[in-house]
């Protein structure tokens, strides 16, 4: 597995997944030292570290197709070269918004990695097998907090409801099939095939939490084609600023 070289198409697919994980890890890193309680600082940092680990494995694999390192890909691509979906690019907001984003992200990633374990690409299958266990815990964390915020005080319920409304327009994009998927039959997971599993989990959680799936805006997104949410430029500027001040440096 260590020496496997990704084809251009597989590399592109690895970037979809790796960029999702990287951008979410970057955002969760912003919570450390700011969480509602110390125990939650530790919990969010754990999730961020897991995601960063997934991102590094996926970017490293993507880089084998043209000789780039994980850091080349994270720090030296410009916004149009990133492939993350808009859900992951949504800002932290308050704790409710972060939890709503975590819920959608982790339920999606759990479905994705569960299926990707059967990929004909051994490297992707191995990455998925490790990631799925960690993402299952992220999903549990998000579900626990969704229940508590939705079922807690009037204020927390109002915030959670609003957060779900703010995040849900970006859920649809996760399940859009792109031409790349047709070229990677047996290797990539077809996004549209993940929707029923996602909906079943969300429906169960929302039923227990007394939340409803908001009907309203559904953003078409565009992350897989290099078009990003309005906050993405700021996020990348911050993430890349130091590395780009020192071209050719090692750290």
């Amino acid at each position: 597995m260590g020496d496997a070289v990704a084809t251009a198409d597989v590399a592109e697919y690895a970037l979809w997944l790796g960029d999702d994980a990287l951008i979410l890890a970057q955002q969760l890193g912003g919570w450390i030292a700011r969480a509602p309680e110390l125990e939650e600082d530790v919990a969010l940092a754990n999730i961020a570290l897991d995601l960063l680990g997934h991102a590094r494995s996926l970017l490293r694999y993507a880089g084998t197709s043209d000789g780039r390192t994980e850091d080349d890909l994270a720090y030296w691509r410009d916004e149009p070269q990133f492939r993350s979906a808009w859900l992951f690019e949504q800002p932290n907001g308050d704790f409710a918004q972060t939890i709503a984003r975590q819920l959608a992200a982790s339920v999606y990633q759990f479905e994705l990695y569960s299926a990707l374990q059967q990929s004909a690409d051994e490297t992707l299958a191995a990455i998925a097998a490790k990631a799925v266990k960690e993402v299952e815990y992220h999903r549990d964390h998000a579900v626990q907090w969704t229940l508590r915020l939705a079922g807690g005080t009037d204020e927390s319920r109002a915030r959670m409801t609003r957060a779900v409304g703010d995040v849900w327009p970006y859920v649809d994009e996760l399940f859009r099939d792109e031409p790349l998927i047709d070229r990677l039959a047996g290797i990539a997971v077809r996004p549209s095939a993940l929707r029923p599993g996602f909906d079943a989990v969300i429906d169960a959680v929302f039923a227990e939490a007394g939340l409803v799936v908001p009907d309203g805006f559904r953003s078409s997104g565009g992350g897989r084609r290099g078009q990003h949410f309005s906050s993405m430029g700021y996020l990348l500027a911050e993430m890349q600023v130091l590395a780009r001040q020192h071209r050719g440096a090692t750290w």
Partner: protein, 101 residues
Amino acid sequence: MTSPGVSPHETWPLWEVFVRASRGLSHVHAGSLHAPDAELALRNARDLYTRRGEGTSVWVVPSDAITTSDPDAKGAFFESPAGKNYRHASYYTASEGVPHL
């Protein structure tokens, strides 16, 4: 007497965490944490006390559910085993040198 540190005035109550380092060993007290309920206490314990692979099983107990012996009552409580050394194998010397005993 309840566990030290318990206070009814805290937002989130205190929990004691016990970790089993590996199969075959007892759960050992690892430390404490704050959590609003048992489910989150368990998850917080996992994140806090097993993030370097320290455990295979975790218990969490509300600190105020623990009743402790009184350290001042040491004499009455813990000294009675003295003089009962017949509870220890080393008391029995006649069998020394006898195989399989």
